[in-house]
Amino acid sequence: VARIANSQLVVQNAIYRPEVADVKSNCSYRIAKQGERTGEARLLLKRGFDSGRFYTALNDTRRVRNLQWRQVAEESGVSASTLTRMAQGKGPDVDGLAALTQWSGLDPKNFFAGETSRQSDLETVLTYLRSASELSPEEAESIAQIVRGAWELAKKRVAEK
């Protein structure tokens, strides 16, 4: 029990400084720019793009702008399932990446696989847990064991990849 409590340290995310994308009033310019982004996105995806890390940066952008994920999906036009896949390291498609680049103002060139590690030496056991709302202390203790076990398996899987 104490072991779990001790391991609850805080993850310090790298801080990205997202710039707010410029609003261009010229429509034709915007379309041209979008085409350019799509081409750029296609190239980047071929060269091994780290979607997990891009997702983390996107999350920071969202926080800075004080928005819900729902608003990110609605404003960028990228579906919730695509965003969820990105969190799992499954890349967005070309259009999705282009749309998110435009929305966030992030430079996708900074997110090549293997350039910088997301790993941190500090860890927090992060969960969503679905269980009965009234737990006895014994039940809580046992569930804590299961959470720890699941965490170990998850860590192993991440390390294997």
Binding site: R70, S81, V125, L126, E139, Q145, L153, A154
Partner: protein, 183 residues
């Protein structure tokens, strides 16, 4: 629970988009295992944890009613563990609930041992989206119109009668049925 403005509509979009990606029509059953695979989220039965957990704790969690499922998020990547001692309909609901958390990109919480996390709006949101994934609104309307078929519709979609009734209640199916008959 009162949802944030716009949440229900958004959840409907998310469910419809995701079911669409899985090529499910209104009449098709949502299989959470297929859904998880599409999202790249591994799903493990509790049984897989037996070798690495103390047997007393393992048995208590497995045989107790308290534990349904959990997601751990390690370096941004999710992994779901569910209680395989539960019935299929309950497992479907638990897994759909976990997938809903992932789809709504809820902020995972640091696990606090022994301390119950307060009931958060996120839980209600995940329940709502899970319901939509399992039972689309049109199915709820159909079940409401033909209450004799309630059990067979529930079985067909892999959910409990209770969940189907919940969907009839929250989807506004009743109002829709009355409106249909009165016009």
């Amino acid at each position: 629970v009162i949802f944030a403005r716009g949440f229900k509509k958004y959840a409907e979009t998310v469910a419809a988009d995701f079911r669409g990606e899985l090529r499910l029509t209104t009449d098709d059953r949502f299989d959470p295992f297929v859904g998880a695979e599409s999202l790249g989220i591994p799903v493990l039965p509790l049984e897989d944890l037996r070798p690495i957990c103390e047997s007393m704790h393992f048995a208590r969690v497995r045989d107790g009613r308290a534990f349904s499922a959990l997601t751990v998020i390690c370096e941004g990547k999710s992994l779901i563990v569910y209680n395989d001692a539960h019935t299929d309909t309950r497992i479907n609901n638990s897994l759909a609930h976990e997938l809903a958390h992932a789809l709504l990109q809820h902020e995972p919480q640091p696990f606090a041992n022994g301390v119950r996390l307060r009931y958060r709006e996120e839980e209600a949101e995940a329940d709502y989206l899970a319901g939509l994934l399992l039972i689309p609104n049109l199915v709820a309307v159909r079940a409401c119109r033909d209450s004799e078929k309630l059990a067979s519709i529930a079985a067909r979609f892999g959910v409990s009668d209770q969940l189907l009734k919940y969907r009839i209640n929250v989807s506004g199916a009743r109002r829709r049925v009355i409106r249909t008959y009165s016009t």
